[in-house]
């Protein structure tokens, strides 16, 4: 919305006695500046107008993050799977210096298709062994993936950007 600057206001006020001679736009501006604190009020209206949309966007990001966090935290099957993965890894690496590990690097999760065993197990991947083990012993573990569905949406959300959006809302 167009609001005259203080200098323009003065110029317009000087023209008020002969307002009828001014253009329609100038007459409109003359009327507008009669309203006390018009700029502040329009700013408030602008905030009110956009607040719902901004809050919904922010809240939607927060809910996606919450779903993903809960999906990982409240996922006993995922914990069980990691224990199995460690065991399978140790089994496949029997005889090598990695054969008795107590933990594994998280990056391995995306390389399971490519990671192969050593010696007699070199034809099978970690994922093959893991799937076999799950199918034959603990099929309920496969449910871990369902709980991680929220991770797809959350992987697109930058927490820093969400923080900035929140600070902007707070400033208003």
């Amino acid at each position: 919305m167009i609001i005259p600057e203080p200098e323009q206001e003065k110029l317009l006020e000087a023209e008020r006695p002969k307002a009828e001679e001014l253009s329609k736009e100038e007459q409109y501006l003359l009327e507008i500046i009669k309203v006390p604190g018009i700029k502040g009020h329009l700013d408030c209206l602008e905030i009110k107008f956009h607040f719902s949309e901004r809050f919904l966007n922010l809240n939607s990001s927060l809910q996606s993050l919450r779903k993903a966090v809960v999906g990982v935290e409240d996922n006993p099957q995922l914990k069980q799977l990691f224990i199995m993965l460690l065991k399978v890894g140790n089994f496949l690496n029997q005889g090598s210096n990695k054969g008795n590990s107590l933990s594994f690097n998280i990056d391995i999760l995306t390389n399971l298709k490519q990671s192969k065993g050593v010696g007699v197990h070199q034809k099978s991947t970690m994922l093959d062994f893991l799937l076999n083990s799950i199918l034959t012993k603990t099929p309920e573990v496969a449910q871990f993936a369902v709980k991680l569905e929220g991770c797809q949406e959350a992987s697109k959300i930058d927490l820093k950007v969400v923080g900035d959006q929140l600070r902007n809302l707070n400033k208003q």
Binding site: F51, L62, F144, A145, V162, G163
Partner: protein, 148 residues
Amino acid sequence: MQDETGMLEDDSEDMKAIEALQFRIEYQEVFLSKFSAFRSEMDSKVEYAKLEFDQLSERSDKLIKQFGCDPQRFLPKDLFQLLFEFAKDFSESYMKMLQKIKAEEERLKRLKKKAKEGRPTISGRATVCEDDPAVIKAEIEAFKAKLR
């Protein structure tokens, strides 16, 4: 000293200023009353979002640490991306393996069914299904023997 007319003019100027001020105050009051409901709604929503944000930041940092990573370098979105990729790969392979098992079960079921129907084989002696590898092998051996 001011004359009587001058005094009156000054009074009317003051009155105009007071009226303008009153109008301004009344306008502000109306404006504030109209906005106060929205203001408190906005404050409570922002407060809720702030609490939620703080809590989620803390919980995702904790998760990243539990996965043995540094929350300063490894962001929550990286963790979720990695877990999503893993779950996707796993599910796809799991489904493929299930389909394989199902297909194998169906094949065995078909074999059993054929065996039950007792179809004669080429040689006319065996009554089990000709798809059975053992039967096929036996038939080949019999055929070879015949040729000899």
